[in-house]
Amino acid sequence: MEPEKRKYAIYAFCLIVFFAFVIRLAYLQLFSTEELTKESNKNSVKTITLTPPRGLMYDRNGKILVDNKPSYTVTITPSQFDKNNLNEISSVLEIQPEILMENIKSIKGTNKFNPAKIKRDVDFKVISFIAENKERLSGVDYQIEAIRYYPNNFHAAHSFGYASEITPKQLEKQMGDYYNQGDVVGSSGLELNYENYLKGVKGYKFITVDVKGREIGGLNEGKNDIPPVNGSDLILSMDKDLQEYAEKLMNDKRGAIIAVDPHNGEILCFVSKPDFDVSVFAGKLDQKVYSALANDPDKPLFNRVTQTKYPPGSTWKMMMSLSAMAADIITPVSTIACGGSFTFGNRTFEDHGAYGNINVTRAIEVSANVFYYKLGLQLGIDNYNKYGKMFGFGMKTGIDIPNETSGLLPSREYLDKRYGENKWTQGLMVSLGIGQGELGVSPVQMVAYTASIAMNGLYCQPHFVSKIKNSITNAEEFVKFEQRRIDMPQKYYDAVKKGMYLVVNGSGTAQAVKNSEFVLSGKTGTAQNSSGNNHSWFVGFAPFDDPKIAICVLGENAGWGATFAAPIAAALMVRYLGGSGYEVEGDLKIVNGVPD
């Protein structure tokens, strides 16, 4: 076969296929057009995403804390929208016409035949207006969606966190492609930490739509639909009534409260004030509201329970006592002479009293500074760091909300780096001995430490969530949190706890809050603050013999521990234990404090 013949053979083969295709195209496009156009107009399958409602949050007694409520979202379908109505719609929705136009255009992941979410959480009046004028306002419609609802009259803003419409930045950063524009995502607190449980699983509905994207009916009687899975509910250990009372006590103040069940680290109440009303973020995260909060000099967004690092002041004295006993510097009965002051090198450190020769229990009761100046020196930085770590300082407690601080527990390396090698003196240890100086702790670290003393060394990771209720099986699954034992002879804990008992029930610094019904115990603290009034601390637990609650209260710039923090802590412990408590309504009666 010569080349020319081969060329024509190839041409012929190609032409046969070509004409076969043209005939097929003619069959489809010229002779079946009517039928297929009908098909295209009526029987086109469209997938509608069904977003399930988020899981709810309940308190330890099954009372609702975070709920959902229906809200109206106005949508606009760009392909049907009549631009002549732009001004009318924009005035009804209170959105500027230019911004409205931008919004309609810029919605990603959808197309002009699908409704785009324009405004969430719209007033019912607006919805009835849209419903009445439906014929005229083509393309404008509304959807009912679930948004967060907080039925109680307290905030717990830092605990719950907020779930808002996903921001373009979050959308870009997400792993995978679960979220689309208009979806709600947990952005802080428990909402963020438990996002994977709370969000549920999206479902899909297949509908047939006409040429204009209008719904005609379900596909295959809904047999192919994939129903959404509701988010799982969180059962928190929080006590709703205690939380409400705690927020009332801290109203208009600046500070933090955290109380836990010392047996397992379950958080009973958690307050950081000033705070904000999370419901303002339930729909869309309003940038104006958000930046007002972010720029507020009182820092309402700052979580004072997990993010502050102040020196603990005298509440550190149990830590020092246990460290010194464990390091064999003192025994539970050995005494140290406590004059009114202590001189180290050429510097004199003052105390608020002279107590003579006292043991560790008495030293805690009266908060003797000289006792701990001396212990600080003898303990040295390495032991200071070693035992501090054992009680969870200088590291995160692992509380189940994000952005916790590790605080600051000084070490030899730290001081060498801070001051230069051998450029710092033992004098630093004197201040560190009484919980002042370069030591930073957060209330959540303090409450875990206090609870572990109350439980004779059982250290529990503080946490909010006790159970997660699976929305499909309705089974409640326990969430596992860490517990560990801090191994020390029981007599060390006894000596320290006795001191804490006497602080309230003896001649100690918090005797003003002694309660007739329940045996409270604790320790006051005052953190010296170079830039303002001192911070007021109190840590404690109750009842003394069988601890059911451990608490830490911090008052920013509120003065002595006994003045501010102790009365609030006492009131909360008594209330939780079921006593009549203190008659505290509105402002707490400030007792006459004593220095610690």
């Binding site: 076969m1 080349p3 020319e4 081969r6 060329k7 053979a9 190839i10 041409y11 190609c14 032409l15 296929v17 070509f18 076969a20 295709f21 043209v22 097929r24 195209l25 003619a26 489809l28 496009q29 010229l30 079946s32 057009t33 039928e35 297929l36 156009t37 098909e39 295209s40 107009n41 029987n43 086109s44 399958v45 469209k46 990603k108 992941g109 959808t110 197309n111 002009k112 035949f113 297949f206 739509v209 040429v211 994207g213 192919n224």
Partner: protein, 407 residues
């Protein structure tokens, strides 16, 4: 001199290529413009880049290409091995290297390298082509194609493997393989297809094959032997069919009756037929196609881009696109015929057969004549590797025109 420089440009290939590229870009624009993706801008950038490459390649003398062809081929084989280890898995196949946010498909490069190596092999004789009617030479030539195919099957990428196999017969036919041999190779496929359709078709196909074999008037024993082979192959179709991946079985089933699986493998075929058919004679107009704009066809900008042409530009647009491809293929075959350089002559046939195969499978799939095999429509589907590889092929095709009088 300067005049000559431009004189050698194959204007037919250049203009038609630009026309197809433009149609493809319009189609991608339409298919993606409500989705907020940047496929259009990526494709147009690489199209411009590719045109430049195509023009540069069209100036390279055939000698240089022929000399380097074996090196390219070895490099391509190495890349195909590497992708099995370091490739990125996308929808079940390890076919891609991920480089700086772009996916690079070594099998696209291997297509060109294999054709060039095979062409070099067939033409590296003193006079005429190697005699591929000799079994040894025939098998050697086939080996050039089989090696990359084995590697690509490992990815696994069925569609691309078929593309490689599709070029063997046209290339060898051009190099002088006798029509009788070709018929012997093709006939089992026809019989197997008949067997797949049913007993009656199987028998009809066998009779047809027997008649044609008799027309070749070869040795009667040979003819009978071939007929028996056909019979056995037709009989074992069922066993082979069961060895396919279930999704491949479904795809084949859905070709013959898409309604058996309207939401699965038949979905695309039904929707694309509806899209094309509803376009009518003149189409619904640019950006007005409801099937395209409502995204009934997933990832339409890749393998189902032809639907958009059918829906928005109708019968006229669909046929026009086919004609453009026909011109490209005919021009490549004609360049091949005119070229006195045997190497480029074979290469052009290889390229035209690959473009033809892509066209037939891809368009055939959208109009419901071929199974759903995921291979792109040349120069139109979104995909950078494929776009550049086709432009390089056409570039070499243009060089065949320029140097047609050089031996």
């Amino acid at each position: 001199m300067k005049k000559n420089f431009f004189e050698g440009i194959d204007l037919v290939l250049l203009i038609i290529t630009l026309a197809i590229l433009t149609a493809g870009l319009l189609a991608i624009f339409s298919a993606t413009y409500t989705s907020g993706t940047d496929y259009f801008s990526k494709q147009i950038t690489f199209a411009l880049f590719g045109i430049l490459i195509m023009l540069v390649i069209s100036y390279i003398p055939p000698r240089i290409i022929a000399k380097s062809s074996y090196y390219f081929y070895i490099l391509a084989l190495i890349l195909l091995v590497l992708v099995l280890f370091f490739g990125k898995k996308i929808s079940g196949s390890k076919s891609w290297f991920s480089v700086g946010g772009f996916g690079i498909q070594p099998s696209e490069f291997a297509k060109i390298a294999t054709i060039l190596a095979l062409s070099n092999f067939l033409s590296s004789t003193d006079d005429g082509f190697r005699n591929v009617n000799k079994p040894v030479e025939f098998l050697k030539a086939c080996a050039f194609v089989i090696m990359p195919v084995v590697l690509i099957m490992r990815q696994p990428d069925m569609g691309t493997s078929l593309v490689f196999l599709s070029m063997i017969l046209p290339v060898l036919f051009w190099a002088g393989l006798s029509p009788y041999v070709i018929f012997v190779i093709v006939s089992p496929a026809v019989v197997a297809f008949g067997a797949f359709l049913g007993m009656n078709y199987f028998i009809a196909a066998l009779i047809l094959v027997a008649l044609i074999l008799l027309m070749f008037k070869r040795n009667i024993f040979l003819t009978a032997g071939i007929l028996v082979m056909n019979f056995v192959i037709g009989f074992s179709v069922d066993t082979l069919y069961k060895k396919l991946q279930p999704y491949q079985q479904n795809r084949i089933k859905a070709v013959f009756d898409p309604s058996t699986d309207p939401l699965g493998s038949g979905y695309n075929v039904i929707q694309s037929k509806v899209a094309i058919g509803s376009g009518g004679f003149t189409g619904k107009g640019f950006l007005q196609g409801t099937q395209t704009q409502l995204k009934f066809i997933p990832e339409q900008w890749t393998d189902f881009i032809y639907c958009m042409i059918g829906e928005e530009f109708g019968f006229i647009g669909s046929v026009a696109i086919l004609i453009l491809y026909m011109i490209i293929i005919f021009q490549l075959v004609n360049n091949s015929y005119l070229s006195k350089n045997r190497f480029l002559s074979v290469a052009c046939i290889g390229f035209s057969s690959i473009i033809f195969f892509h066209l037939v499978i891809n368009v055939g799939m959208t109009i419901g004549l071929m199974p759903v095999i995921g291979i792109p429509l040349p120069l139109m589907s979104y995909g950078i590797s494929s776009l550049l590889s086709f432009l390089v092929m056409i570039g070499i095709g243009m060089s065949a025109y320029r140097y047609r009088n050089q031996y």
